[in-house]
Symmetry: C2
Subunit: 503 residues, 2 copies
């Protein structure tokens, strides 16, 4: 077998694994949108069985043998070529899979299933002590996992790398810390401002059928391709691709809150347009996959916030909104509506937070989970540390653990190292957008005319079409000419919120 034949075998192996993965994703999408209530137990069996087949393929010795030979070959030399990218990441992923002992994989799987059940009950009953033993076990297992995976500087690096490959804890900590230093006084200035957003507008009655039609119409105009995707309803919105031309986005509707479904749809459509822009012929290969969770999040945040909450966007869309929701919006002027969708107010629950304070929720979680993994913070001391951090950063203190440390599912599901990708997404988006605005010119004019294709084409060319050929850090450097910084995000926030709150 020569290297070309080996490389074809590698691609074939990866594509077949992707067939099983995308089939599993289809089962999961159906479970969360369509499946009858009583069918859950068997669906879990189906998903578990496929997970076993996928794991076998990901750790197959013949895959390892192919990769051992290929990484020495000339095909692997240029990491930014399709072949170099595919060999590099396939080897990276294979090694990670092989480094985890079966015993540990099973222990984590069991602990997180039990952990999520216990968390769900504990949150309902505001009962942290009952969740504590599960959390202790999970933190211990994640520390063990970090040791098994290996790291250069600190164990948290190994966990972060699973979601944001190549990111280093110390660098993330530094940029988040700088962000916090600027955000805290900024939030304070906003909350102290005389002028406050007319939030009530958004809580009027918005009939759900009209919300659905408006979300589809808007995301279609933005560029989400409904020939290659669809929008459905679910409890916990997400975006998933079931094939190279099959992107499913989901949202949830609240008849008395406009933003939930609308900005949720823009957010998921942003994720979806990234998936739809990846090289379809390379579906299932690293060269056809997304870079990292942070880069994925940058695409959703960019469309949701930088585009979807901007003044020129609403100058274009607001007449359509008034037509779609005449009863709610007939007496509301564009300025008031735009101010309302940019309402800022410190709150306790992350998923309901506005765009400015959201990042402080993330900084708090990142710092706490890093200390947990370092062993400097004990799980038992989390509630106190959590509440102190909210008081210090947001000036508000949870009255109980249900609205505090128990609010997120992540830790109970073993997702440690995941939270920072949300804010990394905001940071990437802002830094990408500065370059885009500079290169595209007439940014406001285009949005006022509802012309989104220049931006989408730019994102396609700069980010989507590369698949995983560049790491997140490399992409930021290539596009902006600089490493990741907090300044672009802060500048974009000031640009939008200073005039609204007259700061």
């Amino acid at each position: 077998m020569n290297d070309d034949t080996r490389y074809r075998s590698l691609c074939e192996h990866l594509r077949q694994t992707a067939i099983l993965e995308s089939t599993q994703a289809t089962l999961e999408w159906d479970e969360r949108t369509m499946m009858p209530r009583a069918a859950g137990a068997y669906r879990a069996e189906q998903i578990g069985y496929l997970a076993g087949l996928i794991h076998q393929r990901r750790t197959a010795p013949e895959l390892g043998e192919l990769l051992e030979r290929l990484r020495e070959s000339s095909l692997a030399q240029d990491p930014h070529s399709a072949a170099g990218c595919n060999i590099h990441w396939a080897w990276h992923d294979y090694q990670k899979q092989r480094r985890l002992p079966q015993r540990l994989v099973e222990a984590i799987s069991k602990a997180t299933i039990l952990g999520q059940q216990a968390w769900s009950q504990a949150r309902s009953n505001n009962d942290f002590p009952n969740f504590l033993p599960h959390l202790r076990t999970i933190v211990e297992l994640k520390r063990e996992q970090a040791e098994a995976l290996g790291y250069e500087h600190e164990p948290y690096d190994a966990l972060l790398d699973q979601y944001e490959p190549g990111a280093k804890t110390a660098e993330v900590a530094e940029v988040l810390s700088r962000l916090r230093t600027e955000l805290v006084p900024f939030v304070h200035a906003i909350t102290s401002a005389k002028r406050q957003a007319p939030f009530e507008i958004l809580t009027r009655r918005y009939p759900i059928a009209a919300q659905r039609a408006f979300a589809i119409q808007t995301t279609k105009q933005m560029g989400f391709d409904y020939e290659r995707g669809r929008l459905d309803e679910t409890d916990h919105p997400f975006c998933t691709s079931l094939g190279p031309h099959d992107c499913r986005i989901l949202t949830r509707y609240d008849e008395h809150y406009f933003s939930s479904a609308f900005f949720g749809s823009l957010h998921e459509a942003g994720h979806g347009m990234y998936d739809q822009g990846l090289p379809a012929d390379d579906f299932g290969l690293p060269s056809g996959s997304y870079v990292s969770l942070g880069i994925h999040e940058s695409q959703s945040r960019l469309w949701e916030n930088s585009v979807g909450r901007s003044r020129p966007f609403w100058k274009w869309l607001y007449p359509q909104a008034q037509t779609a929701f005449p009863a709610a919006l007939a007496d509301v002027c564009l300025d008031d509506f735009h101010f309302a969708v940019n309402h800022v107010s410190p709150s306790l629950i992350r998923v309901e937070a506005d765009e400015v304070t959201y990042n402080l929720h993330i900084v708090i979680r990142f710092e706490l989970e890093r200390e947990l993994i370092r062993g400097n913070l004990q799980a038992a001391d989390l509630p106190q540390a959590w509440n102190d951090a909210y008081e210090a950063n947001l000036g508000i203190r949870p009255e109980n653990d249900a609205e505090g440390v128990l609010q997120d599912i992540h830790w109970s599901a073993g997702l440690i190292g995941y939270f920072p990708t949300y804010t990394l997404g905001n940071l990437y988006a802002a830094q990408f957008l500065q370059t885009a605005q500079h290169e595209l010119g007439d940014w406001n004019g285009a949005l006022e005319r509802g012309e989104f294709s220049p931006l989408l084409e730019w994102l396609r060319a700069q980010i989507h079409r590369h698949g995983r050929r560049y790491r997140a850090g490399e992409l930021v450097q290539r596009i902006s000419g600089r490493p990741l910084e907090s300044q672009p995000l802060m500048e974009s926030l000031h640009e939008r919120f200073d005039p609204l709150y007259r700061l």
Copy 2:
């Protein structure tokens, strides 16, 4: 390994295969209801890949070894016990799979994919000659398949057995021939009757949202369990179970034809209630599977026609129908509506045929395909033979092949031996129902009160809960005390249609 351990391994093997089969069914359901237009090619790859995995498991030598030993064991002695049933049918299915050479399986797969494409074009263009070479190839391959599978009396037996295990061509021919002898003059009497059904009622405007709600409300009251199933929309309605508690039924809506969605929903709900009545714990085993296509069809026809087109059923439901469709039905009395849904008229297209003439469409197809497989009829002579048969049996002659021999997809898809199961379903249903009416008593009274659970419980006890423990012929004998006959169906038709048409 002792026999008990072997039997547990057998069940485990079959259940795991069923996980892949039900996953494949989920992909197919999604393809026909939800999938975005552009996603078809990759979906075919997913389904094809799973088909390969399923075929490997169905023909796995270790399965054969288990079965070789188990069929000699004491567990296999009682064919009506769960173990006996599972060993018997697993061995039966395994042998069939092994008897087909890989070359033949692939040739049939290729010929029927090309055949369906050619058929679809030929039907659009009314161009039988362009379909003819495909049909010739398919008939040749099906004759080869019959030889490979083996048969006692004639090759058609081997094909029929795939859909109606244990049925013999000669016996089916005899009962269908008797049925035809009685149906032809019966249809003539109906078409010559002075009194004709007020069909126009059904072609008024029935808003689709109201049709959907009415179909769900009615099938729910009949006993289809929506906690374990759902109703959706598709082009070519069907019923599929994606798990033991996950039955998906589908229908299609025509705003200007009431019967399409309504009786389609009753039909599919009849299939669905059978699936929902199979032993859920045995899902994936023969003891938890349906007996045959004919028995499956008996359940759908029973609810659609014997229940759903009866006078007492509409005495109960008609007030609800008038509430659901006030504009269409305000001025229509129960008698006229009931007569309309029992409209009979010879027509050229099988899928649009009424309950009485439908069986003649099937008799024609059965006789033609039997002669094709026997080699007594050449594919090239089919159009002439088809048109002559329509004239002889239904008194009407197609003007072209699109409304004649090209109307059905079945032959192009290699489904030879499938058609008779439709009429077997009608025959089984009528024969079962005679016993049920006798045993349950007060049949009309129950329907007039909308009480369906006595009938459903009877079907559960007599048919559903047995899975495949009894063959179709055994079930008929056990339930009615007699072999399959045409008389019960003819009696039930006379009972309903004689008073309507005043015969």
